[in-house]
Symmetry: C2
DNA sequence: CACACTTACGATATTCGTAAGGATT
DNA sequence: AATCCTTACGAATATCGTAAGTGTG
């Protein structure tokens, strides 16, 4: 026994309208076509479902039984279709993003704000964790994708470039270099700077960017905010990627972009290889691109 | 957006098997046909649902979302089909019958017994009520059909003959007539008998059967069992339809069929005109015919 | 006689399977 | 090189709408 959705729709409309003509109109088919659909159900089930003559159409007892079930099923079907349509049209859904804390706290909030305004029905979750955990979250499907600085990754993952994150010198506004609008490598290569722990993502990219040179170290700290405090008290300067500058938003400090020929920090979208983003997640990435691409060109 | 049952089945099997070839086998279609079904869903939804290459097939995030809903819907669909098949095959269902008490208590129980053995899944309810209430129950669809003696009924109902119910004389075994195997009208026309209230179905048919004669009355009672008690104590005889004889099953009593040229009581199935019995109810009527037709020929 | 459902039939659309093509491991 | 999915294409099937037929009130 096999009943199609179309047959069920025809059955349901006929049960409601008690008229082949009106039911056919509601189904947007000709009246004989509807007649054939009903006949089809009656033949596959082997049961008469409507008592009908020229003047009257009504369900048989068995038809009544079937009608209750078909009505429920069509309800479920319509709900399925509309819910999935909502997902496709981005009226509903959820996105979970893994991101380095330096990204999650700085460049991401404006995008999140725009995304939530544009797609208020999509739930958003941000997991602000370290780079290696980001990768693990992607692998285990706990996040749709991750935002990290480019790192080496196994071939089960793939990365797509999103934006360049250029280095900036941070100093107090009374520092001699503060009057420059832009700095070259030669101007800062020999300045002792406040450095970060070797395990930190910023330090690793900084070392790579200036390689084979090694920047002189004045003080080594763990957190960016600590460096900000030291600088504000006139105890040094530092060099950090632009996306971390939100941690240095103190009136007495200035940030000056540094021109580097290569080796800028690259922010990437990390996904599983041979995988596809959900429409919701894809919308988020597209919005990231729209926000960040102009700034980093 | 429109997804057919067949497409959903294909989707579900592919999600389970993660192989177009195996899923096609399970759907009993060729592998390219299944490919087309999947392509069809992806095109109508506008979303890629499976990431696939030569070596691997797996759901996309959106596909996973759809899969959960489709699995549930197919479950409902299969349940609908099997449940209705059960009804058609008489493994499930319910029958509610209205019947005169004289029928419900006498001739019906053996049929009920056979019916419940033959169709143990079908629930059975008997409403033993008077004739006029029987008709009302049919009209209001509270019963599938009714079993009554033939009565005049409006043209919203129709009746179908089931069995004849011949009259019997009931007397004590020491009564002079008890030695006869069969009686003619002439032998009993003048005997005073225990009669029943004019409102009772038995009395009405009795009067009709002997019309234009009027049987002499010895005592008038309301219930058959009362008559039985009177007769057992040697206080008279009575004439009743055969189907009520179960109320006279007392060792000292005998029942002797009376030959009447016409006007036997006719037991009928009463249904709504232009209506159809459910498969369950129809099975019950068929069983009634099988049990009663031989006896009344 | 009028109205409503059914049947008949030709046209259109869809679906299917076979065979060839393409891609990945 | 083998395996698996996709594309191409002709055939079978299903569906649809128009028009004629049938029956009931």
């Amino acid at each position: 026994m096999n009943i199609s959705i179309k047959q069920m729709r025809a059955f349901s409309e006929l049960a409601r309208e008690k008229s082949f003509t009106r039911a056919a109109d509601r189904c947007h088919i000709s009246q004989p076509a509807l007649s054939a659909l009903i006949k089809g159900i009656e033949e596959t089930t082997g049961t008469r479902l409507f008592n009908r003559n020229t003047r009257n159409v009504e369900l048989t007892p068995d038809g009544i039984f079937l009608e209750s079930m078909i009505t429920a099923l069509l309800g479920s079907y319509d709900r399925l279709v509309t819910e999935f349509q909502d997902v496709v049209q981005k009226n509903r859904g959820s996105v979970t993003v893994g991101a380095l804390a330096s990204i999650a706290g700085g460049a991401l909030p404006p995008v999140i704000d725009a995304f939530q305004r544009r797609y208020p029905g999509i739930e958003l979750a941000i997991k602000d964790v370290t780079s290696d955990i980001c990768l693990e979250l992607v692998r285990s499907k706990q996040v749709d994708f991750a935002l990290t600085a480019s790192v080496s990754l196994g071939n089960d993952l793939s990365s797509a470039f999103l934006a360049s994150d250029s280095f900036h010198l941070v100093c107090r506004s009374d520092h001699p270099l503060s009057r420059h609008a832009r700095l070259a490598v030669s101007q800062i290569r020999d300045l002792p700077i406040i450095q970060f722990a070797r395990s930190s993502s910023v330090r690793q990219h900084l070392d790579a960017a200036f390689y084979p040179d090694r920047l002189p170290v004045s003080i080594e700290v763990n957190n960016l905010v600590t460096a900000a405090g030291l600088i504000a008290h006139g105890l040094g300067i530092t060099i950090v990627p632009g996306m971390t500058l939100f941690q240095f938003r103190i009136p007495s400090l200035v940030a000056i972009p540094i021109t580097l020929p290569i080796h800028e920090r690259k922010i990437c979208v990390i996904t599983r290889r041979n995988s596809t983003l959900s429409v919701s997640a894809n919308a988020f990435v597209e919005m990231l691109r729209a926000h960040w691409a102009p700034e980093s060109s």
